[in-house]
């Protein structure tokens, strides 16, 4: 138990959130991470629509998509839905260690 965690007397009842959900970096749950081949990607944005965590963002200024790995939990739905098979799921551990 770290000291920054509050006692039962200090927290709001019933678990009402005292900070925004964006403060919880849930991306560290993942085992596999999506990796995209830009050459195969047609920017159809199917993955953006299907991502249950809103972790794939469309960047109009770049005319491209971007993965937000802080929130991507590695579910693989994007890879499954990609019509051109531009996304593959890779073990995060292997990618990080490389």
């Amino acid at each position: 138990m770290t000291s920054r965690e509050k006692s039962w007397k200090e927290i709001a009842p019933a678990g009402v959130c005292s900070k925004s959900s964006t403060g919880f970096k849930t991306g560290d749950w993942k085992t596999y991470m999506p990796v995209r081949d830009p050459a195969k990607c047609t920017r159809c944005l199917t993955c953006v629509l299907f991502c249950p965590d809103g972790a794939i963002l469309w960047r109009p200024e770049k005319g491209d998509i971007e993965f937000d790995y802080s929130y991507c939990k590695g579910c693989g739905i994007c890879a499954n839905e990609c019509p051109t098979k531009a996304i593959t799921m890779k073990l995060e551990q292997e990618l990080v260690s490389k």
Partner: protein, 410 residues
């Protein structure tokens, strides 16, 4: 003492008394599903809605699980919320009972206590709500239709108190109370509405650091019912325990404030003693059996037996100190349980009362009688037999049978 409010005597069954109290308590939302012997409550209330006698949003749900879910959601918006159930209906709510108390939603629910299947039985015992004793709900059990009316009104004040914020069950014995017509003194609507007042809301800090009312509100969005992982879940449970402790004082306060308006009180709101001051032998019971026990105690007192009665009105939170001091001078106590705790060596009330008396200076003999299951009638003669057993225990200074079954064919 101030003069009490004007009251009118109505002929009401226990269920009707509950519905009438809910009608007068300015309830915003009722979501319910009918089940014997609670049906009359829901029927009566829907009649009030159909006749335009109340402004309540009435939701007919497809199950009790949904009924309590709807109540929880309504309560989360700040609405005053009421429901009623019994037996299998309450059992179907089981999951949502914990979600409601854990969400600190002050829902009030009347339970017309009924046996649980199998075998199927629609009659009265307290197995249904006793099985929910650890669900985080305050539990108040009443003795008669008058108390059912009074307790539903009080329940809103108790549940919605900001030191409590817990849901409340008001238990009335199925059929014995739910379907029996009694004279009930009722207030006019304005007196009840003044007593219950408007629901107040606690303040909480949002993620933006703003202090806002604790309710779902599009203007001040907040997350309710999030996940709590091992690093916080425990702390929330401890908060609920504190709220239960606070409820002990609030129930007593509401009981005495209600007495000022009505001229009626139920002991201190937690326990209700009868002829207990100098009693040597006493019975502790929950619910309507106390009515019969009083006539038995009266008869025994006429014969010179120092008999007494303690009715446990509030079962959750358990009034530990109050039970202990009420039974401080009693030499032998029989605890009555209208439900089974299979394999538990006695019923739930017995376990708890015995646990309370462990720390008493003078340990009385404490025995248990399981009775009335599935609506089995309990006669004054049988109840008298309990006092006779207690006298025998005192004479012999030992207990032969700790747990007995009253009115069971051996």
């Amino acid at each position: 003492m101030k003069s009490t409010a004007k009251q009118e005597v109505l002929a009401l069954s226990g269920d009707e008394a509950v519905a009438y109290a809910a009608k007068q308590s300015d309830v915003d939302v009722v979501a319910a599903y009918p089940i014997t012997p609670q049906t009359i409550i829901v029927e009566k209330f829907s009649e009030y809605v159909a006749n335009g006698e109340v402004q309540t949003e009435f939701i007919c749900t497809e199950s009790e699980h949904s009924a309590l879910t709807a109540c929880l959601a309504a309560s989360a918006t700040g609405a005053r919320t009421f429901t009623a159930s019994a037996s299998a209906g309450l059992a179907l709510m089981h999951e949502m009972l914990f979600v409601t108390s854990g969400s600190r939603a002050p829902v009030v629910m009347a339970i017309a206590n009924r046996a649980l299947s199998a075998p199927l039985n629609i009659h009265g015992d307290q197995s249904d709500s006793m099985a929910e004793r650890d669900s985080g709900w305050i539990q108040i059990y009443v003795e008669n239709a008058q108390e059912a009316y009074d307790s539903v009104i009080q329940a809103f004040r108790i549940a919605e108190d900001l030191q409590v914020l817990l849901p409340v069950i008001v238990g009335l014995d199925g059929f014995t109370l739910s379907h029996t017509l009694e004279n009930v003194k009722a207030f006019s609507d304005d007196v009840v509405q003044r007593f219950v007042g408007t629901r107040q809301l606690a303040s909480v800090l949002t993620h933006e650091g703003k202090s806002v009312p604790f309710r779902l509100d599009p203007e001040n969005p907040m997350t309710m019912g999030p996940i709590a992982l091992p690093n916080y879940y425990f702390e929330f449970k401890r908060q609920q325990e504190e709220a239960m402790k606070n409820a002990l004082a609030v129930i007593q306060r509401v009981n005495s404030e209600f007495a000022e308006v009505s001229g009626r009180s139920y002991g201190n709101g937690l326990v209700d003693a009868y002829c207990l001051e100098d009693a040597e032998v006493a019975v502790l019971c929950v619910g309507s059996t106390a009515g019969t026990l009083k006539t038995v105690v009266d008869a025994l007192r006429q014969e010179g037996v120092k008999a007494g009665l303690l009715r446990l009105r509030t079962f959750r939170p358990l009034p530990v100190e109050e039970i202990r001091s009420a039974l401080a001078n009693v030499k032998a106590v029989a605890v009555m349980d209208k439900s089974m705790s299979f394999g538990g060596n006695g019923g739930a009330v017995f376990h708890e009362v015995r646990h309370v008396l462990y720390d008493a200076e003078a340990h009385p003999f404490v025995v248990n009688y399981i009775y009335g299951l599935g609506g089995r009638d309990t006669s004054p003669r049988e109840l008298r037999g309990i006092y006779e057993d207690l006298q025998r225990i005192l004479k012999a200074q030992c207990v032969e049978m700790i747990v007995q079954y009253l009115g069971l064919r051996e």
